[in-house]
Symmetry: C2
């Protein structure tokens, strides 16, 4: 690893654990308020509370801290984004999509429940995200910000964002994909929602247009880095640590960074992306410590 | 049919054709602005522009006319609701759900395209609905109304509304369902989004709290009437007019109104519900002509 991405100056391990706890507590609160004792709610609960990394909500909180403070609005938005991420995993795993049986170390939703329940649990988590984003009692001025938040998230997760990436990812299994196309797929499939997490966190903490521009550059770079590392872990990783099967990309003939660039060059590419991200944070000084530590974490993670 | 539900006083046939045209033109505008030349957009387009009845968007417009005037905001909302209705049909038809091959007289989305594309096209239509609802440039006061609209629609279509109804409907295939439970399923599966159509149309046209309360009673009654008639048509209907297979409920052992009440008593029940709906409209006088004609149409329709 180059020197410029040396370890962070503060206790990142505790920070990450604390933020994950905050997110999990907020999600539990929503489950207690909103979920019923139905099979549908059980499936939503099962997938939402499987041991996820909570990367997107933690990024949302960290972006808020970079430009201001975490508040209840930021937390609700972080939870909504995690719901959307979880729904996309449930649908990605379906037999008609990737047909995966293991996710976050547990049976996928359609294996644990059944296919119809998994389809509907995904639909319901997506819909609930917009329900919780729109139910905040608020001033007219804040209502304008909430509409911006809803618009940023829906656009990022829609057919020109995350879903476009999912679609292209499937199509890429049966056709040759160039490095540029692969980058495009990942900017959409993983990058779009990661970017929305950072933007909305900053928006709700009162970030200026200029600071949000810098955070967008940060987010685009770490979004792509995250996916490059994911591809590397699919080759090199340990299934028990990953919580999902490894070696699956090669067996599916999927285009990946290691496949196109080799593992070493892929690692170098990921390090470059993280450096770009760190560079974009310079204007924020120490306030960006959590975001810079998160960028470093992304290329060092084991799952 | 009882006298009280005699034909309407104005040319309903032209009215319905005109309103459908307005909705289809608005949907086409959104397709031209938002859709790309991808397989995903093609699938979204295919299902959205299949010859639907446009009942929900037309109800949204008619509710607006009852309390005020149709405006651009009402039209956007009518389109968003039709997108959500279409997504629910695409997912309902999937092999893991009802496994239907015919919808709106054409092959279902997963037959015409493939299963993965159909799953994602459904997801994308749901997401796009919230994207178009949140992108209106607006005053802070209107932003508050938009949040109410988004909240009403997301709650109605979520895991305690439409999706709960879809889930209970599936579970009802393998267990005995009482008349009360059947009513509950349909109030959720069909009724919740119909009610949201009427409420949001009225909200965006400046309806008072009192008028919205009356419209809720109207909507609950026609929502249920619609489903009772749907069940009757599944027994008596002509597949070529329905645009989907008939006789399927019996072959799936599904609990239906005709199954529980008999066809004649089901027809009487539908007529009673429509009378309740018409009664709730009395305070609006002639302004409610479109809504009352729509209520009458629901029990006379052939598909």
């Amino acid at each position: 690893m180059p020197d410029s991405i040396s370890p962070p100056q503060f206790d990142f391990k505790s920070y990450l654990a604390d933020q994950r706890n905050l997110v999990n507590r907020a999600l539990t609160g929503i489950i207690e308020t909103d979920f019923t004792d139905s099979r549908l709610s059980s499936a939503m609960h099962y997938s939402l509370m499987a041991s996820g990394k909570r990367l997107r909500p933690v990024l949302c909180l960290a972006a808020a801290e970079t430009v201001g403070k975490i508040n209840d609005n930021v937390m609700v938005t972080a939870c909504a984004i995690e719901m959307i991420h979880t729904y996309s995993l449930i649908h990605d795993d379906l037999p008609g999509m990737d047909n995966d049986e293991l996710r976050r170390g547990k049976p996928t939703c359609h294996i644990q429940f059944d296919e119809a329940t998994a389809i509907l649990a995904g639909d319901a988590l997506l819909t609930l995200a917009f329900e919780i984003l729109s139910r905040q009692s608020t001033t007219p001025e804040m209502a304008v910000v909430w509409l911006q938040v809803i618009h940023t998230i829906s656009k990022a997760s829609g057919h020109r964002g995350m879903i476009k990436g999912q679609m292209k990812d499937i199509q890429a299994e049966t056709s040759f994909v160039s490095l540029d196309e692969l980058k495009q797929i990942h900017l959409l499939k993983t990058g779009a929602l990661i970017k929305a997490s950072v933007i909305t966190g900053a928006l709700l903490a009162g970030g200026t247009a200029d600071s949000i521009e810098q955070l967008k550059i940060y987010a685009e770079n770490i979004g792509l880095a995250f996916q490059v590392v994911d591809d590397i872990l699919n080759v090199e990783g340990d299934a028990s640590k990953m919580g999902k099967a490894t070696g699956t990309d090669a067996s599916r003939n999927k285009s990946t960074y290691p496949g196109l660039l080799g593992v070493n060059q892929s690692k170098q590419f990921a390090a470059e992306l993280v450096n770009n991200a760190l560079h974009a944070l310079e204007i924020f000084g120490n306030k960006a410590n959590p975001l810079s530590a998160l960028a470093r974490y992304i290329i060092k993670r084991e799952r």
